[in-house]
Amino acid sequence: MSFLKSCVAATALATAFAGTAHAEISVNVAYDADPVSLDPYEQLSGGTLQLNHMVFDPLVRWTQDLQFEGRLADSWEQIDDTTMRFNLREGVKFHSGNEMTAKDIEWTFDRIKQSPDFKGIFAPFTGIEVVDDYTVDLKTAEPYPLVLHTATYLFAMDSEFYTGETEDGADKAEVVKHGDSFASRNISGTGPFTVSEREQGVKVTFDRFDGYWDTESEGNVDEIVLTPIKEDPTRVAALLSGDVDFIAPVPPTDLKRLEDADGVNLITMPGTRIITLQMNQERVEAFKDPKVRMAVDYAVNNAGIVDRIMRGFGTVAAQASPVGYAGHVEGMEPRYDVAKAKELMAEAGYEDGFSITMMAPNNRYVNDDKIAQAVSSMLSQIGITVDLQTLPKAQYWPEFDARAADIMMIGWHSDTEDSANFHQFLTACPDEETGNGQYNSGNFCNEEADALMVKANNETDPEARAALLQELEQLLFDEAAFIPLHWQDLAWGAKDGMNADEIVNALNFPYFGDLVVSE
């Protein structure tokens, strides 16, 4: 707390002496939720990553077209099969005034290994070696193709600031998931903004960090006030009435309104979260037959769902990997043909159809319950009677874990922005030991597919790896391993002159540090 206070005081002083050349630019942002904690490694969620990209800097980050861009790392090179060397930028200062060096990266890496949420992503890494003050080596046990993908999660924490004991005798470095900790209330990164005020669930105020290293960034925003507004209509109204400058997400029902409104811009972008249905082969004998699974896929009109239910706010999918991912197969067309579906059902010996149960959440994905209703009526056309139950997400997930219905809905975003991740969690043979297939409620299991994933995950040549992942995607398609529906689009609303389209990305963490507001 005292650090926050001194920060506020310092900023106040700085503004007093700066002899204001231009007016303060303050931007009001409304999201549907505010960050759970100030700790960058407490919870793996969109909110945390949005915060991290404002207050911290990663080694590398994603650009709008899903390429890597060096941040704290100036350059990097593969020095052997299992080692990646990062050369760090010099002269980078933390908000506390400490200088960022290799030891902070090492310290952060070690802390990530203590974080229940993030340690999984860093599991392939066996260690980190400090070569000199501005050079670190990241080491993996096996050749690992996703070193840079993972480095986007490595946000340098201020090791000196987070070392020691609090007044209550707690270790300042500890990661606490459900309770008070030093890191959940105090923050020092290298990022473009400092947190000057925070009232959880009400607002967070960010102030521009005077000593930010990236002087080439043209970002000109002095202050950002983030307010959580949970209700969709209120959030939209707040933008339309001019009370806030930037909102996310924009609900599909209001897309047109924002598009037509004066003084407000709508920015949309295809997202990377795939919405799928899984057919449980353990519960339903018929689903063991690829013909039946394919019939279901043929019966579901994904394009119709995107068009009518999502109001165009989604990208029709035939596979899990979106464009830009290594495993994305160009030109794969969604299956939709009811006559063909009936034919397949007859071929499989189910011309009279059968009855199944289906479950979907009703507040997790955009229009999830309506999608489920549409699917169940589509399936009735080929003789499959669906007993549908939709539940709030809090009750849905325990049911999902128990595999409580014959068809279940799940949306997935790959934490590593990589194709193999989809298969690992959604369609790999369930295995408690490795954690594979943790969300494979369909119990789809194909050894060839799993072998392709393993092979791809040890292949460091990007092109060879992409070929393997595309082969995997094709195999899942041919087997109708799951029903792909669509990738949820992302949408932001911004006032004119915000130029927000420059800073948003498919990963949904806008780079506010680079935001240039027209004066």
Binding site: S37, G201, T234, D243, W397
Partner: protein
């Protein structure tokens, strides 16, 4: 009186116990708090460790017993989301909610009395008919719809009032920041207060109207009229006094109900009170906060009911407190 209060305290404790037991029993059906605490790709093993840490794997009675033991020491658990004692979280949010309820009460008291009296005196005038028609609409439209319509009309289209939040507040004491000392604060509280009052106001107009019409039929009013007392004096001094007795009783109970209605109003207006906090806690399966909220709101109900009983006894001496408490 003293015996009555002691009895009431014991009743209150019993009510709190029942609420805590119910709150505790339903939390298992609200969903899995771990889902909201960790990322989706976190392994089941890690989740189990956290569940053990939180004591969620213990049998129900063990958990409840532990909860009671802590509750006796004033600890109702720590919110998963706010990472603070649940009671502190609620106490911090309470002033915002009470100010909103207070704002709505001002509107209800200020409008229901004149409107109720007027519609009783002139039941057939077109103004009375209009008031009754509008009040029917007010009762039938759900609060959240009224609130959203107001935001679109007054914030987006007309730009008269801000659309969300509390705006600028002034610190008073402890956790209490007030809206009533700044222009911005007033601008922010007006719409939510009107929305919150939209259900109760018509009800009170109708209640006062009905009571007033009954009183106007009574002998003493006729006598006063015959005596030649000025009509306004008859209506507002003699008749109104007797009308308000039952209104006060109902009003006291309804203030408690209004605290419950704040859940919707606060959510729509992003009002940082304990109503919106509760709804979010349910969504996040923040069970310690949910149970604590139920207990605190239960406590508010018990207290307001007790006060109403006391006032009732004071206003109408024929009511015996001892009998009421029994």
């Amino acid at each position: 009186m003293f015996a009555y209060l002691v009895k009431r305290v014991f009743q209150a404790i019993a009510v709190m116990l029942v609420i805590s037991l119910i709150g505790f029993a339903i939390q298992g059906n609200l969903g899995d708090p771990l889902r909201e605490l960790v990322g989706q790709s976190v392994s089941e093993e890690v989740r189990q460790e956290l569940r053990d840490d939180l004591g969620l794997n213990d049998p129900f009675l063990v958990q409840y017993w532990r909860f009671l033991g802590n509750a006796l020491q004033g600890d109702l658990g720590t919110s998963y989301f706010f990472k603070e004692p649940a009671v502190d979280v609620i106490l911090k949010k309470l002033p915002a909610t009470l100010e909103l309820v207070f704002g709505a009460t001002l509107i209800i008291v200020g409008l229901s009395v004149p409107l109720g009296v007027y519609t009783a005196i002139k039941p057939n005038s077109w103004i009375s008919r209009a008031i009754m028609a509008i009040s029917i609409i007010g009762i039938s439209i759900p609060v959240f719809l009224t609130a959203i319509l107001m935001i679109y009309l007054f914030s987006v289209e007309l730009g008269w009032a801000p659309s969300f939040g509390r705006g600028e507040t002034v610190h008073v004491i402890g956790y209490w920041d007030t809206n009533f000392l700044t222009v911005d604060g007033w601008a922010h509280i007006i719409m939510p207060s009107i929305a919150l009052s939209s259900i109760m106001l018509p009800m009170f107009i109708r209640l006062i109207r009905a009571e007033m019409m009954e009183v106007l039929q009574s002998e003493y009013v006729r006598f006063a009229k015959a005596k030649g007392i000025a009509p306004w004096r008859i209506y507002f001094v003699h008749a109104l006094k007797n009308t308000l007795l039952p209104v006060i009783t109902v009003g006291g109970v309804q203030i408690g109900t209004m605290v419950a209605y704040t859940i919707l109003t606060e959510t729509v207006f992003s009002w940082p009170g304990m109503g919106s906090m509760f709804l979010e806690a349910v969504n996040r399966v923040d069970t310690p906060l949910i149970v604590a909220y139920l207990i605190v709101v239960g406590f508010i109900f018990v207290v307001t009911n007790t006060i109403v009983d006391l006032i009732y006894g004071l206003v109408n001496p024929t009511v015996k407190l001892a009998r009421l408490g029994a």
